[in-house]
Symmetry: C2
Subunit: 374 residues, 2 copies
């Protein structure tokens, strides 16, 4: 399975998960090319799920490429944005699949960013208790993070990604050309997750990003190719060791506990996920400093790079009366909270991360010193 | 894991699924006994999901037994019936879990029939991408079928069980005492699934049921114990070989393709699942006859036993203008339809079943000869 024609100039990263192993293809012009999808199950029907922003740009091109593989290629265009990552939108996928009498061999293609990928993956996990699916991420964030590793799901009014499944795609197709149409804000949001891989796993990569952040912001194709590839390699290494997040995998959530609180507190869709993670990483860096695990110079370096990537480094005020309390409340319900205690991913010396329970007073101090006003 | 105190007089059936293996405990007084739950993960919190019919009878008893194992035992009472097996009801479980800040170690207990079990199992599969759960089935149907094997899910307006997951419980606790409060109609519905195991796998068991159908209808405890145990053994044998229904497991759906059409066509909740399956088995028996796989005597025997178990043997009219067309349409969308063709579980000689595509005209003839009027 997964036999593929590797194109010249195309990079390939393998996610080793036994019978659920798959490849990430990284290159230019992949969406338009039928051979990108060679070797995947060729069910009679396929459904491409995308959103109203991506559809005019890439839907027709993917439909053309897939016509070789499937007798019928359906498409569903969802509203765009994190605010729509909930049950009602997910159900549109099920409606479409059932209206077209799609069966267990129907292949789902997620064409878009993290929201489309998470929802399509979860729909694939649940439709008839599981159908095959392929990720075709069109944002930097999705290419370096959300489309790789099998985390799928939707939000609940009381928490982000609270309802979901671990469900692996059969392949991830990262077409770098799609990044040329990405709004600057979203490019920055993606860079947050790229930057993340440095402090948690690879400070040499962190230095490379420091040297290339301007090139990345200018969408230099070669720089983007390396950033996507190295990010996927690190994520692949982590996920291969801990598919279901019973330990190591949690380090990928560096900056996410603060970040999720910001997203939820501001209302989903107000801050981009990557923006919240960018700011959250700086906060988590400060937390690591307060635990004596890193020095001030490291935190300054991290904050500086996050800022250069066009991301916020000042946290928003979530409640004018009890801002710290509101942050704590939101973080406690976050999935990292087990048995009532809040655990954070902290940097255990630059290039290494671990999960640690942190006393509330240290967390409160970081929130106070990171927020716009208190 | 799963180390247990086997009680005197308790039967135990093992489902062998590698690291997802678990036991079915069958006996009297199990719900009230803390030791029934010995060896299961003792997360800080637990949530018992049951329905408004079961709650007054058994909820308090289960709560008492679980107090030894969990610091906090929450309970959620859902509306009763197949008509509520949809997203809005499922979401009540997520609401409850999040309102109480339940985490990944929270254990879900499904206390009730198939609907409660399917929804609770699916909620456990999806909450934070998977939390542990235990089945405590209180109907005969759930004890012999739906609580065993890991099929979980909800209905969609366009099809039954279309949204779900394969997700195994950690244990199944079948307390035979709960069958004493079961309405006769539901006892019969459960017997449909008990009878099913005969034609597909074990004609000696079929003969035993023929000999004991009156005792079973009279709720003789020893007869019920054997019926539950033998049913679970056969189901365990099938599921162990094909957990995700890629082949053999489909034989457990004998009578279900016709049955699902009846349920969907009449509106979920109008016919009980077991009633529809009872009638569906007779129809599938006739289909096997029309293929020359069994003789008329076998079909008569099957119909006679289904009838003695208090189940309908005459199929309902689903559409006064095009009854056959309506049945075909509903069956095509059923999950057994792959690539457009309808496959049926047929009896390949008494005691053995297989999946087979059947020409539409033979199916149409069975529908015509089985319905109330045409």
């Amino acid at each position: 399975m997964n036999e593929t024609a590797i194109r010249p100039g195309m990079d390939c990263v393998e996610i080793a998960l036994g019978e659920r192993s798959y490849q990430i293809h990284i290159g230019s012009g992949l969406i338009d090319t039928a051979s990108s999808f060679h070797g995947l199950p060729a069910g009679r029907s396929a459904l491409i799920v995308c959103n109203e922003t991506v559809a005019p740009l890439y839907l027709h091109r993917l439909e053309n490429a897939l016509e070789v593989h499937h007798a019928v290629v359906h498409a569903l265009v969802l509203p765009d944005g994190e605010a729509h990552k909930h049950w009602a939108t997910l159900n549109l996928v099920f409606d479409k699949l059932l209206q077209h009498e799609c069966d267990r061999k129907t292949v789902l293609y997620a064409l878009g960013g993290g929201v489309v990928g998470d929802m399509t993956g979860f729909a694939a996990a649940c439709y008839m208790r599981g159908v095959p699916f392929v990720q075709v991420p069109t944002t930097l964030l999705a290419q370096v993070d959300s489309s790789v590793g099998g985390k799928t799901g939707i939000n609940h009014p009381l928490g982000k990604n609270m309802i979901g499944a671990f469900y692996q795609p059969l392949r991830v197709i990262c077409d770098l050309d799609t990044l040329s149409t990405l709004p600057s804000k979203e490019l920055s949001a993606g860079l947050a997750e790229v930057i993340k891989y440095g402090p948690i796993a690879d400070m040499a990569f962190f230095e490379w990003i420091e040297d290339h952040v301007d090139a990345l912001m200018a969408r230099d194709k070669a720089s983007l190719a390396f950033a996507v590839k190295r990010s996927c390699e690190i994520k692949a290494w982590v996920v291969s060791q801990d598919e279901r997040e019973s330990g190591l995998r949690a380090i990928l959530n560096f900056g996410h506990t603060f970040g999720h609180a910001i997203e939820a507190g501001m209302g989903y869709g107000s801050w981009l996920h990557g923006e919240a993670v960018g700011c959250g990483m700086v906060m988590a860096g400060r937390l690591s400093l307060s635990l004596g695990l890193v020095d001030q110079a490291f935190v300054d370096r991290l904050a500086s790079l996050v800022k250069k990537a066009g991301l916020p480094v000042v946290a928003p005020l979530l409640d004018t009366h009890d801002n710290v309390g509101r942050y704590m409340e939101l973080m406690r319900v976050d999935k990292k909270a087990e048995g009532g205690a809040i655990r954070f991913v902290v940097i255990d010396g630059p290039g290494r991360a671990r999960l640690q329970e942190v006393p509330d007073d240290l967390v409160a101090e970081v929130i106070r010193s990171s927020c716009a006003s208190a």
